[in-house]
Structure formats: structure tokens, C-alpha cells
């Protein structure tokens, strides 16, 4: 027996929760029920019932009684209609009656459906005759067979169908308490039945749980196949409009093209199946159709995106995240051409999910539309984002009333998350979007911060806040993505996130995901330290990160996400070690990465991200000092061929092109180190081509400009090596111009400064070569040597400065001596040429 306190609590929480939007209920339940499972289960069952309740009991009891007394069918038991003997009335509604009848000719029980349409006999008979031929041809175990159609003496059309003894689909799954997979298997059978009908040129047009019965043996049967078409044809006659109106009274399963009265295709059934699946998985309908006004209903169905299945309050919500979300929403897309191409394809995706293979459905939400739109007009997008942000600000100001506090809190939080994920992610891969991204994410951060100060202490909000700080940090200065070059700002943001995450991870209660995030955060801080040239601090952070992930990987050996992170952690440590002399440890770290990645590719051969990871690892093995030249070249070739494949797969993806550019660049370095200068020159020319292209697309992307500067610089070096000093000089000057700009915008960046120093040398060397060239007139030689000496001197000073600030990489330790020697050599040459 429920205790009184429990009952009170149920009523109270239910009454508060119904005022929330459905997608907020899960959070509400998390917060209010805590570990009280009984309470949660009871509330969830009420939410499910609320959807069904709708008009339940809204007609007064007295009226119900009156109607009950008036329920009489057109036929009485024992009456015979065209050879069908009526057994009993089994259903009645606005459009007609359903009788259980006995077919006297073949002695079987059938369902006889009488349709009150009031159309003239001949027209009806003609249409029925035509359709019947198609429909009667459908012969499938999961489709209720249509046996006959006809018109009674009074001119009322009827269908005779297989009588299915079964339970409505939605009631069946509830009663049997079917699990997620069982529901999917059941649904899969429906898809097959619909696919069969489509192959036979019949579209159902009215798929909904009420038209699906499940036999006691668990076989689903689709009823009324193709019949909706006859109704619609009747409705084409203005006098028969009511028929369609009736049928559309609850258009929960109707597709956008249906409610707009547009052409119906097989895709319409795909949509309705999507809605049925949505309801099967979540226990709720995707749209809350509260209004009965046709224009409201049309608007909701054609414009409103349904909440993701995983965001509903159903018991399975968590398991729906990802693939099932994507599958359902792909079937339910507004545009028919963007849904599954066929019911068969839909069914196959369910199979893939059930077999644990990657599904073809992809997340849609905002990204697709935004992407499509943004490509068309960047300025308009920036303007739209601004309008959106100012509206969002309005929500905060406008709803300060205490009564609305919780609602406002949820709205703002949802908004912030939508900004951070959907909106930010939708523009992330687009070139030229960096400043817009900063604006978006900073605004999200402000919102979350204000919520946090308003007393939002729950840990999920804190985690969102940490994520926002990290995203801001990424945009400020994550060297591995398009960024604004603000290293100090990025470090501060990452550290704020770190403080939150480390706090939440204390005590070991943190989830796997939370600990992974902490590990990623350490890595991001390490990345910044590397940029600043603080090798010790960089390695410390990388090792912290690796240690957390190694623990997790031992706990979750089958978890792909963790194994992927482990591969990355080793790789990152290897990268950090590049600033030291620990070549052995570095090589081992990269080899670990390669072997983990290879194992992952075996598991998911279609996952392009794993392929990319493997390519990067090959490249890095190749780049470790002391690796055999032949091994290095073989590894590089493997890497380049993977990158070429990825670029071909998605030519618009800036990152893939950047990868390929980098691989050519890296190959150039390896060949140069092996003294294959002609080979290096060719690779570096390719590298430059890629990087020019990328930098041109987004003038504010510091990373792209830095990559371009490096490409010019290294190509200059190769030209110098093959004794082409004029080409070398020209490319070095290009590099210098870019590096000067970069250093001015971010003076704390030791990597920029180091490369600036190297660039000075790249200018000096060809000047020296030109000075020594036989074709150079003697009068020119002195000027050339003087200019060369000037650059060597600047390089010397710059590296000495880095050393004094503790930002000199150990591998650069010899550079100061080298430049000093070069200055001395220039001095000697000048001394020889200078007139006494």
C-alpha cells in the first residue's frame, strides 16, 4: 500500500511537472526523485498516461450515458449483406461501423466495415473495383488481407477484411512490458510489411497504432491498407469534405506533406512509421497537438522539430541517445527527400542497430539547415545569430518573476546548451566562422555563469559550465582547431574548467564520461603549455591525462570511446616529448597509438575518425628522430594515402585538407632530414598549395596563417638546399611577413617566436648563397653579406631571449652556438669584401 506521504508527493510533483515542457521533465525527475525509484516510476507512468488522457472524461458522464443508449448499428445480428452474415457490432465511430461477420461462401469470420460517406453508388463502386484489384493482391503475413468491397442496397460502401484477433500495438507493448530490442524487432516486421506493399504499388497513408494489431502470438498485422486513399478521393468532392476532416482529427501520425495536402509518396509511410517508432520507444507522441485549429496543427507538423526521443521522460530515454535518436528523426524529417529513401532502408538501419553495426542515420537538428543556409550567405547568418542572441538575452530579463524562476532557469539552460552544441557545432567546420563561434560560445558561457550564480548547484549544470569554459578556451587558442590566437585567455578558461572538473571528480563518484572530460582538460592545458614553451609543465599535464585514461581503459577494455582516448593520450605524450631528447619513450608512445588504432579499425571498419587517427600515428612514428629512413618513408606513404582517401570523401572538410597538407609538409621534413632534398622540395610544394588554400578561406584563422608561414619557411629551406637561392629568398620573405603579424598579435606565443627565429636564418642563408654566386657582381656581394649578417644576428638575439625566458626547446639548444658561428662567418666574409 502506498503511504500517504508518497501519494501526496506524487500529486504535488505531477502538478508541477505538467507545467514544464516535455523535454524538461527528465531533468525535473532527476532532480526531484533522486534515488527514489518508486516515485520516479509512478510519475513516469503518469506522464505516459497524460498523453493518452487528452479528451478522456471531458465529455460529462451524463452525455456518455445518453450516447451509449443511442449506439445502434445499421445492421442487426443475423442480417445478411451480400453473402456476409452479421454476427455482432464490434465497433462504431463517426464514419461508420465495424461488424464481425461470417462469410457464408468460404465459412470464415471476417471484419465488415461499413463506411458512411454518402457518395453515389456508381462512382463508389467504380473506385472500389479499381482499388480492390490492387489491395486484394497484397498477400503478406503482417498485412490484414482485404477480401472484398461492395456497396449495400442503401448505397453504403463497405470493406470486407481479415478479422484480426489482437491488441492494439501500443497496448500490446505496454501490457507485455516489452524491452527496447523486442519493440524494435516487432517494428522491424511492420517495416517489412510496408516495404512489401510499396513494392506492390500500394501506399498505406494512415499508419498509426490504431491500425496495427498484434496477435497473441506476437505477430503484428497492419489493417486498412490503402483504404485511406479511397477516403481521400471521396473528400476530393467538396460535399464530402467532412470525411477527411474526420480522418484528420488526430493527425499525430500525418506527415507534413499530408497536412499540406501535397503529393503522397511511399515516403509518407516512412514518416508515419517514424512516428510509430517514436511512440514505441518513448511512450509519448512527438508532437503535442493541443490546438484543434487546422492551421495550428499544420504549423506544428510542418515546422516544429520534435524533441529527441532520448530527451523524453520515458524509461528507456538514456539508451535512445545517439543511433536510435538519429534513426527515428531521420524517418521523421520534414522533407520527404531527406528521409530514408525507402521503408527497406529504414528496416535495414534497424537491423544495423540491433546487430551493433554503425547506422546510416545521422544527426540532423540544426546543423544541416544551418550548414546549407550558411554556405549560401555568411553575412545573413552572422546577422541571424546576433538577432537570436539578443532575443535570448530578452528571455533572461523578461522572466525574472519568482514564479517563473524554475522555468526561466530551464529555458536559459536549454538555450545555452543549444548555443554551445547545436549552433556552435553547426558552424564549426565552416571556413570563416571563428569570430562567430567565439560570440556564440561566450554568450552561452555568460548564461551558464549567471545560472550558476543564481544558485544552480547541481553537478550537471557545473559540468555544462566546465564544457562552456573549454569551448571558449578552444576558440581562444586551441592550437588544434581554428582559433583566435589568444593563448593566455585560453589557458585561463581551461583552468577554470579544470577546477570545476577536478572538484566534481573527487571521491571517485564521477562517471566515466566526467573522468574522460577531466583527462581531456589536462591535455588541453598541456597543449597550451607546449605553445608557451613550458615543456616540463606541458609533460606534467599530458601525464596526468594519460594516467586517468589508463585507469579507465583498464576498467572498460571494451569501451571504444575510452580506447580511442587512450590512443590519443599516448600520441599526445609523444608529441610533448618531441621537445626533449627522450626519443625512445616518444617512439614507444606513438607505437602504442598505432596498435590501439589498428585494433579499433578492426572493430569499426567504417569509422573514418579511426582511420584518421591511424594516419596521424603513422606519420608521427615516421617523424621520430632515429627511425630508419625506409621505415619513416613507408609510414608516411601509409599516412598520405589514408588522408587522400578522407579528402576525397569530403572535399569541403577543412580539417581533412589541413591533414593532407600537413602530411605532405611532414613528408618533406623527413625526406629533408634524410638528405633527399629534391624529394623534400616536391612534398613541400604540395604542402604549400594546401595551406595557401586553407588560409585564404579564413583570414582570421591564426592557425591557418601559422601553418602557411611554416610551409613557406620550409620550402625556402628546400630551395636553399637545392641551390635555388632566389626562390628560397622569395619564400622566406612570405614566411617572414606572416610570422611578424602573428607574433604581433600574440607576443607570448613561443612557437611563433621560435619560427620567426628560424625564418631569420632562412632569409640569411640564401642571401649568403647569392653573395657567393659567381654571377653576382662584386659590388652586390658586400650588401648581400651585410644583410645576411643582420638576419643571423636577429636570430641569435631571439633565441638567446627564448633561452633567458626558459622557453627554449632542448632540441634548439645548439641553435645559439650555430647562429653565433654564422654571424662570425658573415663577419669574415664581409671583412674579405670590405674595401680596406
Amino acid at each position: 500500500m502506498p503511504r500517504e506521504g508518497h501519494a501526496e508527493l506524487v500529486a504535488e510533483l505531477f502538478k508541477s511537472a505538467v507545467e514544464l515542457a516535455p523535454e524538461h521533465r527528465a531533468t525535473f525527475l532527476d532532480e526531484q526523485c533522486g534515488s527514489n525509484r518508486k516515485l520516479r516510476a509512478e510519475l513516469e507512468s503518469l506522464f505516459r498516461a497524460e498523453d493518452r488522457a487528452g479528451q478522456f472524461m471531458e465529455r460529462p458522464a451524463a452525455d456518455v450515458v445518453a450516447r451509449t443508449f443511442s449506439r445502434e448499428g445499421a445492421f442487426g445480428a443475423g442480417q445478411v449483406v451480400d453473402g456476409y452474415e452479421i454476427v455482432s457490432l464490434i465497433g462504431k465511430g463517426g464514419m461508420g461501423e465495424v461488424y464481425l461477420a461470417q462469410d457464408r461462401r468460404v465459412r470464415r469470420q471476417v471484419a465488415l466495415k461499413l463506411v458512411r460517406g454518402g457518395i453515389d453508388r456508381e462512382t463508389m463502386a467504380r473506385r472500389f473495383q479499381r482499388e480492390q484489384e490492387l489491395l486484394a493482391g497484397l498477400n503478406h503475413p503482417n498485412i490484414a488481407q482485404l477480401y472484398d468491397t461492395g456497396v449495400t442496397e442503401d448505397g453504403i460502401p463497405y470493406f470486407v477484411m481479415e478479422h484480426v484477433e489482437g491488441t492494439r500495438l501500443d497496448q500490446f507493448v505496454e501490457q507485455r512490458a516489452l524491452g527496447l530490442n523486442e519493440r524494435l524487432v516487432l517494428f522491424r516486421k511492420l517495416c517489412a510489411a510496408v516495404a512489401y506493399a510499396h513494392q506492390n504499388l500500394v501506399i498505406h497513408r494512415d499508419i498509426k497504432p490504431g491500425n496495427i494489431r498484434v496477435t497473441p502470438a506476437g505477430e503484428p498485422k497492419l489493417l486498412d491498407f490503402g483504404i485511406a486513399k479511397l477516403f481521400d478521393e471521396m473528400a476530393a468532392d467538396p460535399a464530402e469534405q467532412t470525411v477527411t476532416m474526420d480522418r484528420m482529427l488526430t493527425p499525430d501520425y500525418a506527415s507534413p506533406e499530408q497536412v499540406r495536402g501535397e503529393r503522397i509518396t511511399t515516403s509518407t509511410d516512412v514518416y508515419s512509421l517514424g512516428v510509430v517508432l517514436y511512440e514505441l520507444l518513448t511512450g509519448t507522441k512527438p508532437h503535442r497537438l493541443t490546438s484543434r485549429r487546422p492551421e495550428e496543427i499544420t504549423r506544428t507538423i510542418t515546422e516544429q522539430a520534435p524533441p529527441r526521443p532520448s530527451s523524453t521522460a520515458g524509461p528507456n530515454a538514456r539508451s535512445l541517445r545517439g543511433d536510435l535518436d538519429n534513426i527515428v528523426l531521420m524517418a521523421m524529417r520534414k522533407e520527404p527527400e531527406r528521409r530514408y529513401r525507402s521503408t527497406g532502408q529504414f528496416a535495414e538501419d534497424i537491423d544495423r542497430y540491433l546487430e551493433g553495426r554503425p547506422v546510416i542515420a545521422r544527426k540532423d537538428t540544426f546543423a544541416y539547415r544551418a550548414g546549407k543556409f550558411i554556405k549560401r550567405n555568411k553575412v545573413a547568418v552572422a546577422a541571424a545569430v546576433l538577432v537570436f542572441l539578443s532575443l535570448a538575452g530578452g528571455i533572461i530579463v523578461a522572466s525574472y518573476e519568482a514564479r517563473r524562476a524554475q522555468r526561466r532557469f530551464d529555458e536559459v539552460r536549454r538555450l545555452a546548451n543549444s548555443l554551445m552544441f547545436e549552433i556552435h557545432d553547426s558552424v564549426q567546420d565552416l571556413q570563416g566562422s571563428t569570430p562567430t563561434r567565439r560570440l556564440i560560445v561566450e554568450r552561452a558561457l555568460q548564461y551558464l555563469d549567471s545560472l550558476s550564480q543564481d544558485g544552480g548547484t547541481d553537478s550537471s549544470l557545473q559540468l555544462e559550465l566546465a564544457t562552456a569554459y573549454e569551448k571558449v578556451g578552444d576558440i581562444q587558442g586551441n592550437p588544434y582547431t581554428a582559433n583566435l590566437g589568444d593563448t593566455e585567455g585560453a589557458l585561463a578558461s581551461y583552468r577554470k574548467a579544470n577546477a570545476i572538473r577536478a572538484g566534481l571528480s573527487k571521491g571517485g563518484a564521477a562517471t566515466m564520461e566526467a573522468r574522460l572530460q577531466l583527462a581531456r582538460n589536462y591535455r588541453a592545458i598541456g597543449d597550451i603549455m607546449e605553445l608557451k614553451g613550458d615543456v616540463a609543465e606541458c609533460l606534467k599535464n599530458y601525464r596526468n591525462s594519460l594516467a586517468i585514461i589508463e585507469q579507465l581503459a583498464a576498467l572498460h577494455p571494451q569501451e571504444m570511446a575510452v580506447q580511442t582516448e587512450l590512443a590519443r593520450a599516448y600520441e599526445t605524450l609523444g608529441d610533448g616529448l618531441s621537445r626533449t631528447d627522450e626519443h625512445g619513450e616518444r617512439l614507444r608512445a606513438y607505437q602504442q597509438t598505432v596498435s590501439i588504432r589498428q585494433a579499433l579499425i578492426q572493430q569499426t571498419p567504417d569509422d573514418l575518425r579511426q582511420e584518421r587517427g591511424a594516419a596521424v600515428a603513422y606519420m608521427k612514428v615516421a617523424g621520430v628522430a632515429g627511425v630508419e629512413k625506409s621505415e619513416a618513408v613507408a609510414n608516411m606513404k601509409r599516412a598520405i594515402s589514408i588522408f587522400e582517401k578522407l579528402t576525397a570523401a569530403d572535399p569541403q572538410n577543412a580539417r581533412a585538407r589541413r591533414d593532407l597538407g600537413y602530411a605532405h609538409y611532414q613528408f618533406g621534413r623527413i625526406l629533408a632530414a634524410a638528405d633527399d632534398h629534391a624529394g623534400a622540395l616536391a612534398s613541400r610544394q604540395l604542402a604549400l598549395q594546401f595551406r595557401r588554400e586553407i588560409a585564404a578561406q579564413d583570414a582570421r584563422n591564426q592557425q591557418a596563417r601559422f601553418d602557411l608561414a611554416t610551409a613557406y619557411g620550409e620550402l625556402a629551406e628546400s630551395y636553399a638546399r637545392v641551390n635555388a637561392p632566389r626562390d628560397a629568398l622569395e619564400h622566406a620573405r612570405q614566411s617572414l611577413e606572416l610570422l611578424n603579424d602573428l607574433t604581433a598579435s600574440d607576443p607570448a606565443n613561443a612557437v611563433y617566436r621560435r619560427n620567426l627565429g628560424l625564418c631569420y636564418e632562412r632569409l640569411a642563408r640564401p642571401l649568403g648563397q647569392l653573395a657567393e654566386d659567381e654571377g653576382t657582381p662584386p659590388s652586390e656581394r658586400l650588401r648581400l653579406w651585410q644583410e645576411a649578417r643582420g638576419w643571423y644576428q636577429k636570430a641569435l638575439e631571439l633565441f638567446a631571449d627564448l633561452r633567458d625566458r626558459g622557453a627554449l626547446m632542448p632540441s634548439d639548444a645548439g641553435q645559439i652556438e650555430n647562429f653565433r658561428a654564422q654571424v662570425a662567418a658573415a663577419d669574415r666574409a664581409i671583412a674579405k669584401l670590405a674595401p680596406e
Partner: protein
């Protein structure tokens, strides 16, 4: 059938107002009988357009039973409360009679176009509902009385709010909760 004389009813209402706890029990059978005979009359007469309005019935019963000269507004409120309960009994009884008449045959829910049913009113089985409402009343007495007055008595939220002396908003929330709870109870036990 109408054995109750008007002064009796008025007297009982006045006793009730004076704090007599036995008043509602004494009033109930009188109101019930009146409503039952009125209801039968209406059902016969209005069979063609199938309307039967609880409020009209209650109002008519009230006019017939209560001496207007003696009655105060308070009486009307109390009467409505009792009348709703009486209406519940009357209507459930009709439903039972109908079921018996159909020899136990039960109309299956439609599947040709159950959209209509869902759209224009999901009518519960009154007998099952009556049972469920008894369970509900043990946990939620106030909400159950709201159901009685609204669904059976035909009162609107504003009137119920006056009777129970709470806000209309509270009544609406109570109603929504009760309706959901009962819908769950009936659809889950439908197997």
C-alpha cells in the same frame, strides 16, 4: 417514487448549515431518487439527439425539491455537492443496466477510425471508472470530489472552486491530475 416532501429537504439543508454531520447522508437518497426519475424521463425524451445535461437535471431537481423561499445560496452549494454524488450513482446504474441489456456483450474500441473517438472524447466505461474512482478517493479525497462534481455533476471549474473554496486554477490542476491518474488506471487494467 418521489416520496420526499419539499420542506424535508429544506430542513435537512438548514440542519447541514447548522453543523449537523448526518445531513448529507439523509439528503442523499432523496436527491438520488429525484434525479433517477428525472434522468429516465430525459433519456426517453431526448434519445434522438443524445444529450443529457447533468446541470440541467440537478437544477430541475433542486427547483423541485427545495423550497425557494427558505433556501439560501449556501444551500445551493451544498445541494450541488450532494447532487453530484447522486448523479454518479444514477449514471453508473444506467451503465450497468445497459451492459446487462447487451447480455455482457462489450463494444470493442473502434479501429476503422478511432481518430474520431480520440479527437472528440475518450469515453470511459462508467462502471470501471466508478471502481477506479473509489480507489482514487482513498488517496486523494479532494481531487476525487472534483471529479465527482465535474464529470458526474456537470459543474464547471469555477463553480467547483466556489463549493470547495479554493482557486479555479487549483481545481483545474486537481482535475488534470485526477483525469491522468484515472486514465492510467483504466487503460493499464484494460487487459
Amino acid at each position: 417514487m418521489n416520496s420526499s416532501s419539499s420542506p424535508d429537504i429544506t430542513q435537512i439543508l438548514q440542519d447541514w448549515n447548522a453543523g449537523d454531520a448526518s445531513a448529507p447522508q439523509r439528503l442523499m437518497p432523496l436527491v438520488y431518487n429525484e434525479l433517477r426519475s428525472l434522468g429516465a424521463h430525459y433519456l426517453r425524451r431526448e434519445r434522438s439527439d443524445h444529450t443529457l445535461q447533468a446541470t440541467a437535471l440537478v437544477h430541475e431537481a433542486y427547483l423541485k425539491m427545495v423550497n425557494q423561499k427558505w433556501a439560501a445560496w449556501q444551500d445551493r452549494v451544498q445541494f450541488a455537492r450532494v447532487a453530484a454524488r447522486a448523479m454518479r450513482q444514477v449514471l453508473v446504474e444506467y451503465a450497468r443496466a445497459y451492459r446487462a441489456e447487451k447480455r455482457g456483450g462489450k463494444l470493442e474500441k473502434l479501429y476503422l477510425d478511432e481518430t474520431r473517438e480520440l479527437g472528440s472524447g475518450h469515453d470511459p466505461d462508467l462502471i470501471e471508472l466508478d471502481e477506479a474512482l473509489k480507489n482514487f478517493a482513498e488517496l486523494y479525497p479532494r481531487e476525487s470530489e472534483v471529479v465527482e462534481m465535474k464529470f458526474f455533476g456537470g459543474l464547471d471549474a469555477e463553480d467547483i472552486a466556489k463549493v470547495l473554496n479554493v482557486s479555479t486554477k487549483t481545481i483545474n490542476r486537481d482535475w488534470n491530475f485526477a483525469k491522468t491518474w484515472l486514465c492510467r488506471e483504466l487503460t493499464e487494467n484494460a487487459a
